[in-house]
Symmetry: C3
Subunit: 209 residues, 3 copies
Amino acid sequence: MLGFLFPREGNEFFDLFEQHAAKTEEAARLLKAMLDNPAGPADQARQIKAVEHEGDQITHHTIEILHQTFITPIDRGDIHRLISRLDDILDLIDSTSERLWLYEITEVQPEARDLGQVLVNAVAEVRKAMTQLRNLKDRDAIINTCKEINSYENEGDALIRRAVARLFRDKMEPITVIKWKEIYDYLEDAIDRCEDVANVLEGVALEYA
Amino acid sequence: MLGFLFPREGNEFFDLFEQHAAKTEEAARLLKAMLDNPAGPADQARQIKAVEHEGDQITHHTIEILHQTFITPIDRGDIHRLISRLDDILDLIDSTSERLWLYEITEVQPEARDLGQVLVNAVAEVRKAMTQLRNLKDRDAIINTCKEINSYENEGDALIRRAVARLFRDKMEPITVIKWKEIYDYLEDAIDRCEDVANVLEGVALEYA
Amino acid sequence: MLGFLFPREGNEFFDLFEQHAAKTEEAARLLKAMLDNPAGPADQARQIKAVEHEGDQITHHTIEILHQTFITPIDRGDIHRLISRLDDILDLIDSTSERLWLYEITEVQPEARDLGQVLVNAVAEVRKAMTQLRNLKDRDAIINTCKEINSYENEGDALIRRAVARLFRDKMEPITVIKWKEIYDYLEDAIDRCEDVANVLEGVALEYA
């Protein structure tokens, strides 16, 4: 009943993680550029959407292979979690850029630009961790990268706290507050998903080291 | 220590999935009627709540049986995921109708009516997929139904994007924007959970075909 | 490859659950005091944040041990789910107090105070259930505690429904509505996570009784 292929080289999963992380980093950099200068928001959002579609295909392909592979290089559930969280990050980057465009944001809050940079930094570490995953014996390297990701998450948290408090303190228009709270929510979620990836990776490193 | 019953016919799970999906479809149709004409919102919301309670009982019963069954017809985790996501859809339909009532919505946005129809269509496909699950050998049938669900999700996404952009562009009152953004969020989540069901089903189909 | 320690006494997990639940109850009580009288919100939020950090360390330690333990007293996935949901409750309590502080809330809505009490009650039951978990043979005790938690969740639901309806009915300022809707969302999520804990516990009780 259980139709399975013989284990291909499990390295295929590591290849796919790296490919996805590269797309996610590309999207994060495009979003950062959009936050710095939302000059042509429709085009900028469309470009990010295209990268998101490519990420989607990598995710779909990974899950297909996962279902057809009997023996996996790391725990099956962890593979599923890693690719799902990576895909969440990319989705949230896409949602952020879509909101910037749909809400016709022309003036970006300074904290949002800073958050865009924190997101780029966190995603770059996620990508680095994905290459380190190939060498599970070097557990310290992975765990250090995870710590970097966690510290970016803390930095993002503090930034968002400050940003949201300012929305209210500066007595902005309610409609402006609604728009920016949503954009900050997406950015916060994206950075939180980076931390989720770090948590899964730490577990993997502890288990296999 | 592990107290288990001998495997009853696993068909019981398929029966429960179908029963739950029938309730979910019933609730979706009631919500669509409410969106078309919210004439007696308190009663309409109460009626949907009653269906939601029936769904809850099916969910609870499914999980009870799952914990007492040693050998399951499909992966234990997938059974849990399927009934949980089905229950999420029904919960979100209930939350939507509750908001329509509590927020004293008398004029429904046209996009919300269209979204109600997309939700009905997606839920009808989810229900169809649940009957197809009995015949895992016909993997193509399940995968085609999942594709239908995914295309409804895309349609819903585009509708919501348009709807939310219009809330801001038409310079509606902030309070109106707050209410409708929440209602759209619930409708979007409900349709997203249909896609989650499709993702689980695709995995099951790939594994057992 | 799989580096594991021999099973320490699995009781360690029960100790950690109890320690975490004690921290969560402490934070819930601090939040309730803050809702009753937000006299020094910066200090009050900081105090809760300190408790949340202690909870974080317990969570982290639990997951570390989990990854190094080969044979666990209850299902590995359930241990992960229990500590994660406990940690979610504590995080959400922290987020609530942070919002009360950042949004410079001086007048607390009466329903929010009532919700604070419901949360304290639900968390106290969660803590009780964690001690009952040591004696899985007394399945009825655990299931009764879970029922208590569920009934607090229902009480909270009704309260929030009333609270949110009133925000709109009393024609409060949009900015006030935005702030309170967010605070109610956090309180609702915190109580919902208590119910999630109850659901996991019920499953554990059914399986091992």
